[in-house]
């Protein structure tokens, strides 16, 4: 079968982490009783006028800076006109021909391939629309909640530079890390902080790109990946069948796992953009740009590189640790305090994240402080406690029983190093199981593991399994 190449571009909307809306002083966060967070401005009442929120501008500039985009000292606001019940003014205030920033890039690291930079075309500010609620209002009515109306968004228009659904996933994951690391957005897809539209086309080697299809209604990163897999397969099949793909907008149905075309009426938009006459051009002063740059953190890809190169972590671990900036922060504290980055990475990625997943907690609410995990790693690393004890100890620290060293001290959990004590435990086990001992001596070598297990149990996991193993063999030999 002839290979088909996909060209994917993503348009991401992220809700900026401001206290108030973009053009009024209503609270901007998720929540609130329907329509409780509204005022004449965001309701679009006659005679009300917008006034731009400086903090939203600062955050958008900060993102542009983090993405290495060219920040324009003067950009302009524009009206995007369309009629919709949850759009009170009949237009959205956005930016069009003169956006806040252009260019910039995001690095992705596809496993087994060289890292790639994905270009950004533009970054601009715009206000969100409200929400139409269709349930609970009867067949012939809908509810409208305008709390979200006027909430500040930054739109990041990516270049069509992604080649696969997996790359799209990695791009979104990295962009989210950047948004969170810089404090620009909480970027919670479930809260609607992050929304994504996708453009995708397919073409054969050396051929011009095919017709571009836009996918909407993508509600998770996994949804984006699935929708793309499905849509690429659909376009490739159409291509093989010799039927042309038409440029159109399709809606992803996550439950059915398919895309369907939007009705032409839903799609036919002429937004009639023109400069917003209610707002002067957005001129960035030096103080605002300085505030946007202040305290810019190390970016996730740089952190990933440092974890791998300077801390000697495997690439995969470095990657997993830097997907969530808060996880990376926690890891760094543990690694530094414990003095063993590799052990810290293992403990954080397997034990701690496992424990948090079980309890449904974000790392910010971890019941095990970074200093405690570091102490525990040091206890295990120095041989003071066995690996088994260490894992039990993590659960006890998480349960709030105290700090690791204190629990070890109080309960006498330190490793059983006394050869005589280990030998006496081994003898006791062999005496208690004469049949199995005879069986072993008769050639059932597998029974050794049984004895080791019995001795470990007898010693409360404190004995070193290697030494138990050696002692048992000597006694049984």
């Amino acid at each position: 079968m002839e290979p088909v190449r996909a060209v994917i571009g993503l348009e991401v909307h992220a809700r900026l982490r401001t206290r108030t809306k973009l053009f009024c002083r209503c609270v901007a966060g998720p929540g609130g009783a329907p329509n409780s967070r509204t005022c004449p401005v965001c309701l679009g009442l006659p005679g009300a006028l917008p006034a731009a929120n400086r903090e939203a501008v600062r955050l958008a500039v900060r993102l542009a800076e983090a993405l290495g985009a060219e920040i324009h000292p003067v950009s302009t606001w524009a009206r995007k006109n369309y009629f919709y019940p949850d759009l009170p003014k009949g237009y959205q205030i956005s930016q069009f021909d003169r956006p806040l920033a252009t260019g910039g890039r995001v690095r992705i690291e596809p496993p087994g391939a060289a890292p790639r930079w994905i270009g950004i075309e533009r970054i601009h500010l715009e206000e969100d629309a409200g929400k139409s609620l269709h349930e609970g209002f009867g067949d012939d009515h809908s509810g409208i909640d305008l709390n979200r109306c006027g909430v500040p968004l930054v739109e990041i228009v990516g270049a069509p530079g992604l080649a696969s659904p997996d790359e799209a996933f990695l791009y979104l994951e990295r962009l989210r890390s950047i948004l969170r690391a810089t404090g620009v957005s909480d970027a919670e897809m479930e809260d609607g902080d992050l929304r994504c539209d996708v453009n995708v086309s397919v073409h054969g080697d050396g051929e011009p790109w095919g017709a571009r299809v836009e996918l909407k209604n993508l509600n998770s990163f996994r949804g984006v990946r699935r929708a793309l897999q499905h849509e690429i397969a659909r376009q490739a099949a159409a291509r093989r069948a010799g039927s042309a793909t038409v440029p159109e907008t399709r809606l992803w149905d996550d439950a059915r796992g398919e895309t369907r075309p939007l009705r032409a009426k839903e799609e036919a938009h002429d937004y009639r953009y023109f400069p917003e006459p209610d707002l002067p051009a957005l001129a960035l002063d030096d103080a605002l740009i300085a505030a946007a740059r202040a305290g810019m953190p190390e970016l996730p890809h740089a952190r990933r590189d440092r974890f791998a190169a300077a801390l000697g972590l495997p690439e995969a671990d470095a990657h997993r640790l830097t997907v969530e900036p808060t996880v990376a922060d926690y890891f760094e504290q543990v690694a530094q305090a414990a003095g063993d980055p590799r052990a810290a990475a293992n403990w954080v990625l397997t034990e701690l994240l496992g424990l948090l997943r079980e309890r449904g907690l974000p790392i910010g609410e971890s019941p095990v402080a970074a200093a405690d995990l570091a102490e525990l790693i040091q206890l295990a690393g120095s041989g003071a406690i066995s690996g088994k004890t260490a894992k039990d100890l993590l659960a006890r620290v998480a349960a709030g029983e105290g700090r690791p060293a204190a629990i070890v001290e109080a309960d006498g959990l330190s490793r059983l190093d006394d050869a005589a004590a280990i030998e006496s435990a081994c003898r006791a086990v062999l005496d208690a199981h004469p049949g199995e001992a005879a069986g072993y001596r008769g050639g059932k070598a597998g029974l050794l593991a049984f004895f080791v297990g019995q001795v470990m149990r007898r010693t409360g996991g404190r004995a070193d399994p290697g030494r138990v193993h050696d002692t048992l063999r000597r006694l049984l030999g």
Binding site: L45, G47, R79, N81, R272
Partner: protein
């Protein structure tokens, strides 16, 4: 013309200040006059009880030693496209009928803070779209001197109310001449401030980049005082300029000596300008020159493009500004059709008048894909060039002189079927609107029985003191409303 001389706002405020006149009797007199001249159709709503209550409160305050303010006791009329808290604001449109704003326009709020008392809302062309007040959904306004004629528009109710002596001061809004042209038709003073001088918060938008709130008054100093009191930056309007407000405007003197006046004679005498208007503006040039001003004839090359540029930009912005009247959240809803879209279409179809619909369609077309650059884009560039030419001329001259309107008040119905003729009557006013420059219309001296003629002065942007000085020079030379005391 009404018989007794009508007091200026300043005279009323002074009398209230000294206690010679109570605010209550000032308001009562205005309410009586409004009731007596109800046939004019100047008011859509009279806020009798609240106005009297405010007047009594002011009188009590004064008795307790509080200053009633520079406009204390002055009855003020407000065009119905300016929001008034708790008082319905319809913009002369069915679609907003019964809508009660939860806030005051900044201009209203500031004049009220200075002691002015709002007595009611005045009739206007629907959303400010018209030059005759015939486009109000609630009926026309009659010219105070000839009931068969129009008072001009769109601030026709405000102009008629001041000209008929019902109130000394009214607020209007001027997008392409809507304060100046009715002032000209009614024989009073109408001032359009520099764009950005007065906050637009609470002014229901027609064309946001052109709209300005302006006073209609019986003399220049009342207009100047009102401007001074309502001007200045406003955190609620990002286009309200952070330019200091000149103080003492009402105390300016009208000395013409040293003034440089550019008389736009060719433009003034273009085809279509009526003889009375030509004569009025020429006599203004002569009066200023005789008083010692340096008057020169000059031209405005790009003025001939002003009307089409205005028509494209104003309608484009209007098409967007009026999108919010969809029946979803406020105003009148008309059920019909399928789904929310059907309801929106039915609401807009029933709620807007024909002129508003015409402009929404024109504006939508001017912005639509494929035509955007040819129409809207070119108009935007032409506007910038026209503004630059005006700036250059106003670096050379302190003020430019031209007519306000090519004609005098016409008969009602005369141009109803001819929108183009109606638009042409804006030819002299849209120039300053596009440039964002301040401009004022003053009544020329006239023979008994003749209809009023307005002459217009355009000043430099944020150069109101200079503009008002030139206006006062004319006023002192007979360019004044009849029967002012």
């Amino acid at each position: 013309m009404s018989g007794a001389p009508t007091k200026t706002a300043r005279a009323i405020a002074a009398a209230v200040q000294t206690g010679e006149l109570s605010a209550e009797s000032s308001i009562e007199q205005a309410l009586e006059a409004i009731a007596r001249r109800g046939g004019l159709g100047a008011f859509l709503r009279v806020d009798r009880d609240r106005a009297l209550a405010a007047a009594r409160a002011q009188d009590r305050g004064r008795a307790a030693g509080r200053d009633p303010g520079p406009l204390g006791g002055v009855p003020l009329a407000i065009k119905d496209n300016l929001c008034t808290r708790g008082l319905a604001t319809s913009c002369g449109s069915r679609i907003l009928e019964g809508w009660v704003p939860p806030y005051d326009a900044t201009a209203v709020e500031r004049l009220a803070a200075a002691g002015a008392i709002v007595v009611g809302k005045t009739n206007c062309d629907e959303f400010g779209m018209g030059s005759s007040n015939e486009n109000s959904a609630f009926g026309p306004v009659a010219h105070p001197e000839d009931p068969e004629r129009v008072p001009g528009g769109s601030s026709g109710g405000s102009a008629a109310a001041v000209a008929a002596g019902l109130v000394p001061l009214a607020l209007g809004s001027d997008t392409g001449g809507s304060v100046r042209q009715p002032a000209s038709f009614c024989g009073i003073v109408g001032l359009k401030p520099t764009y950005g001088r007065v906050s637009r918060w609470g002014l229901v938008a027609f064309a946001s980049s052109l709209d300005q709130v302006g006073p209609l008054a019986r003399d220049v100093r009342d207009a100047a005082l009102a401007l001074e009191l309502m001007a200045g930056p406003d955190g609620r309007d990002a286009t309200a300029a952070a330019v200091p407000v000149p103080r003492g405007l009402a105390a300016l003197e009208g000395d013409p000596r040293g003034l440089r006046i550019g008389f736009l004679r060719d433009l003034s005498e273009r085809e279509g300008t009526e003889p009375a208007v030509r004569a009025g503006v020429r006599s203004a040039a002569e009066a200023l020159a005789a008083g010692g001003a340096a008057v020169e004839e000059t031209t405005l090359e790009l003025a001939e493009y002003a009307l089409p540029v205005y028509a494209l930009l104003a309608t484009a912005e209007a098409s967007s500004n009026l999108a919010r009247y969809d029946g979803v959240r406020f105003g009148r809803r008309t059920e019909g059709g399928a789904g929310p879209r059907g309801m929106m279409e039915a609401t807009r179809g029933a709620g807007f008048g024909p002129e508003v619909k015409r402009r929404i369609m024109l504006g939508t077309f001017a912005l639509s894909a494929g035509y955007h650059d040819a129409y809207y884009g070119r108009a935007l560039r032409a506007r910038a060039r026209l503004a630059a030419e005006l700036d250059a001329q106003l670096a050379r001259y302190d003020a430019l002189l031209l007519p306000t309107s090519p004609g005098v008040a016409f008969r009602r119905g005369e141009r109803a079927g001819d929108p183009l003729a109606m638009y042409l009557s804006d030819v002299f006013t849209v120039v300053a609107s596009l440039g964002g420059h301040p401009a004022i219309s003053l009544p020329a001296p006239r023979a008994a029985g003749a209809l009023p003629v307005g002459v217009q002065l355009i000043g430099p942007r944020f150069g109101e003191p200079l503009l008002l000085r030139a206006a006062l020079a004319l006023e002192e030379r007979g360019f004044a409303a009849a029967g002012v005391a």
